[in-house]
């Protein structure tokens, strides 16, 4: 298994290099100058030039890339142009926020999907199925940030149940942190559950057609046992793949939710990084999310045999 993991990680290297190249040149293609932005509207041109030199932005792009890559390989992602913090520190603190929100949301959404999807498949064509599928379709149609705003309006502003803004790092005080994270997590859980419910339902329908389900029933097993022991593990495998893809996507992609709830997460770090042309931050973030993407997919592949022993990781 270890050799498999190593092989997979090595195979990901070209992908990561392409990501690094793309992001490196893409951010530099965007008009706008980090030094100028930092020094502001009335800055002296010589000060801008000096800052350029200090940041190494006066060198040819390929030299900058080589330097950056060399530092990355030695574990140094550089420092943020705007805040002067090490990018790695920024990434770790921000990834914690995003990670907590994404992991909990996707976890909850998966649980909801397993229950709702299996039951809907089991009662296929019935009222329950219709209700579940209508709900899932509706969820798919709602823009997540709009949902977030509505939740914020209702629970934060009208009902005063939950704080509207603010953040406590999870690692500092998980219980208080959760208070701030309930709404974002609820938003993300709802909007991600739609796809997962549909996926779970359709694979459960496929499994319910198979002989071993009939075989299990023919042994006299109760429906609950049939669903939990024979349908669920087999129907879950394809959903697991989707969960992996969702996780990989969300790690870099909840900028909009983070903006609505003002969470200091990775997505917002990237967006503000792009908007302020903070090259090291954008590069670091994208490399980080790409690595996460690769790792999450690897983990999913390692987990897969738990649900489908036919698949072996070798």
């Amino acid at each position: 298994m270890i050799s498999y993991v190593i092989r997979r990680l090595l195979l990901a290297v070209p992908t990561l290099i392409i990501v690094a190249l793309m992001v490196f040149f893409l951010v530099r293609l965007i008009p706008g100058d980090p030094a100028q932005i930092m020094l502001g509207e009335g800055a002296d041109p010589s000060a801008v030039a000096a800052l350029h030199a200090e940041l190494g932005l006066d060198k040819p792009v390929y030299v900058q890339f080589a330097t950056w890559l060399r530092h990355v390989v030695s574990g140094d992602l550089g420092t943020s142009i705007t805040t002067g913090e090490p990018v790695s520190t920024l990434l770790i603190t921000r990834a914690e926020t995003t990670g907590v929100v994404v992991l909990i949301s996707v976890g909850l959404a998966t649980l909801i999907a397993i229950a709702a999807g299996t039951v809907a498949a089991w009662r296929r064509g019935g009222k329950l199925d219709l209700a579940v599928m209508s709900g899932a379709s509706l969820i798919l149609a709602v823009p997540s940030f709009w949902l977030g705003l509505l939740l914020l309006l209702v629970f934060g502003v009208w009902l005063h149940w939950l704080p509207v803004v603010g953040y406590i790092p999870f690692s500092e005080d998980p219980w208080s942190a959760m208070l701030f994270l309930i709404l974002p997590i609820a938003t993300l859980t709802i909007s991600e559950s739609g796809v997962l419910i549909r996926m779970m339902r359709s694979s459960a329908i496929d499994v319910l057609r198979l002989d071993y389900v009939t075989h299990a029933r023919a042994k006299g097993l109760a429906e609950r046992t049939v669903l939990s022991r024979h349908v669920f593990p087999n129907a879950f495998a394809p959903t697991l793949t989707l969960v992996g893809l969702t996780l990989g996507r969300l790690f870099g992609g909840i900028a909009v939710i983070e903006t609505v709830f003002t969470l200091p997460g990775l997505g917002r770090l990237m967006v503000t990084g792009v908007l302020s042309r903070d090259y090291p931050v954008v590069q670091g973030c994208l490399l980080f999310t790409a690595v996460i993407y690769v790792v999450v997919n690897l983990v999913v592949d390692l987990l897969y045999p738990l649900f489908d022993p036919r698949v072996t990781v070798e």
Partner: protein, 525 residues
């Protein structure tokens, strides 16, 4: 194999949960006043790596020799007073006695010299270094400390704006810090100043906490700009970073914020009339408008520029985009400025007939004119839409180029545009307000107005100390500006601050900065 994986997952989950439970909660002590920043501060080093938020926060911690008063004039701060030599080149400051830094060290002239030398050092990025150089208003030639309570600063030429420059917010108020603010290797640690609050904790992108400085020695009197008597009335001040305007209003309404400064005009509707919320406001000494490239095709013709100006209903536009908070203005000198006289007060009125005639005379045939704008601030975006709609009535075809702020700024800085929406933040001196427009485009592409006459008048305004004479110069500049139309000024903003009712003593200021000294929480939570 299966078992191993399952085991590993369980262990990982357990460790994660365990870690989550270990950290105890640290409750904040004492009363805390919570304010908002729309972006994180750039650094904790005054005037070095900065923006308006940075200035605002750091001026609670550090103080300069002099400080801006409420009316834009310069008053004493760490210096109890000063004298100027007859040749206008030597300034002698007498330091106030008994002042101590936050680390307990007494303030001496050596500390002042150390700070100023650091600002003026060759490798410093101090915002105002170029102003105090040969190219600027005057270069500092030498700083002397004849005794611990006296500082002499010698300039290479007389400079009436020298003190005003030292007091400028964007210069970090030329704040004096203790040398322990810098580590042994020369890197900046955190500011050890003399202000009413000392540096607390900076959580990047989350908040900056300042803590009451018990050893502060206030000047007599009440709030007066950055000068005057300052009293820390709360134990702690927290500036929370909340980039999103709607989120900030929601936070105020929810009670998670006490002071919401620089309320976006389009948030006013949300805040107005909400129970438990008050407002305070002040005119800002800024201006927002349209910069026109007088060298660009089509706009090269002054008749078209005038036509554009005449096509706009500035009053209506201001009312809508600033939600009634702004003041329509046609002069680069803002209404809050002392030099805003009778001439400057005259507003350009919408005159579609004349505008159409001018358009016709210029031979313009509906060629698209690109107007650059961004969402920073959001009103500029709205204003562009209205300018487009109003100019359409005069037969001028404007196409909006919507960019992100960084791109717009880059193109502004290189002069790469036909027309752009743009705003200039408060500068307390009228010369500085004109200065953002006037200059030689060849050497500084940011300048839109390279008329030699204007350049000359601007220079005169800087070297003259006499008020009446300066007013006359500014009136001339203003008249010239209105006939040449290198830019169209639209309005000055009003800085609105929303407060929760327990908050007492807050005063808005035209210098566009929030001040949380002399601000209390009526009934302590």
């Amino acid at each position: 194999m299966r078992k191993t994986i399952a085991g590993l997952i369980l262990i990982a989950a357990g460790v994660g949960l365990g870690l989550a439970l270990v950290h105890p909660k640290a409750p904040p002590t004492g009363s805390m006043l919570r304010a908002r920043l729309n972006a994180d501060i750039a650094s904790s080093d005054p005037g070095m790596k900065r923006d308006a938020n940075t200035d605002a926060v750091l001026l609670h911690v550090v103080e300069g020799l002099v400080a801006l008063r409420e009316d834009g004039s310069v008053g004493p701060m760490l210096a109890s007073g000063w004298t100027v030599s007859p040749d206008g080149r030597t300034y002698r400051f007498a330091l106030r006695r008994g002042i101590r830094f936050h680390n307990g060290a007494p303030l001496s002239s050596a500390d002042v010299k150390w700070s100023l030398d650091r600002y003026l050092a060759p490798d410093s990025h101090w915002r105002c270094k170029s102003d105090l150089s040969a190219k600027g208003i005057a270069a500092v030639t030498v700083i002397n400390t004849p005794d611990p309570d006296t500082v002499d600063i010698v300039l290479d030429r007389p400079a009436p704006l020298f003190l005003a420059t030292l007091a400028r917010l964007d210069c970090g108020g030329t704040g004096i810090t203790h040398r322990a603010s810098v580590g042994p290797d020369g890197t900046w640690l955190y500011p050890i100043g003399t202000g009413p609050f000392r540096w607390g904790e900076w959580r990047h992108n989350q908040y900056v906490d300042l803590v009451k400085y018990d050893g502060y020695r206030p000047l007599p009197g009440g709030t007066d700009g950055n000068a005057g008597g300052k009293h820390a009335l709360v134990e702690r001040v927290r500036f929370s970073v909340i980039p999103d305007g709607s989120a900030a209003s929601a936070a105020l309404l929810r009670g998670s914020l006490d002071v919401l400064d620089a309320l976006a005009p389009n948030e006013l509707g949300t805040i107005a009339g909400a129970p438990g919320i008050m407002q305070d406001s002040a005119m800002s000494a800024d201006f927002y408008g349209i910069l026109l490239q007088t060298g660009a095709p089509v706009l090269r013709d002054v008749r078209l520029r005038r036509a554009l100006s005449l096509s706009l209903d500035v009053a209506a536009l201001t009312r809508v985009v600033t939600h009634g908070t702004g003041v329509p203005d046609s002069s680069p000198i803002p209404a809050a400025n002392a030099f805003y006289g009778a001439a400057e007060r005259v507003l350009v009125k919408r005159d579609l007939a004349t505008a159409r005639a001018l358009v016709k005379a210029s031979g313009y045939r509906g060629e698209p004119i690109e107007l650059m704008t961004s969402h920073s601030p959001p009103e500029m975006y709205d204003a562009a839409i209205l300018v487009q709609a109003m100019a359409r009535d005069a037969g001028i075809n404007i196409q909006i180029v919507s960019l992100d702020w960084a791109t717009q700024f880059a193109r502004y800085s290189s002069g790469d545009y036909q027309a752009t929406m743009f705003g200039f933040s408060a500068r307390m001196d009228a010369s500085q307000m004109f200065g953002v427009l006037i200059g030689d485009r060849a050497t500084d592409p940011r300048k839109v107005w390279n008329s030699p006459q204007a350049i000359d008048l601007l220079h005169q305004s800087v070297v003259t100390g006499d008020r009446a004479q300066r007013q006359q110069i500014f009136d001339q500049l203003d008249a010239h500006f209105r006939s040449e139309v290198p830019a169209i000024v639209l309005y000055n903003t009003r800085r609105v601050t929303a407060l929760r009712t327990p908050v007492t003593g807050y005063r808005s200021w035209s210098a566009q900065t929030q001040r949380l000294w002399n601000v209390g929480l009526g009934n302590s939570r």
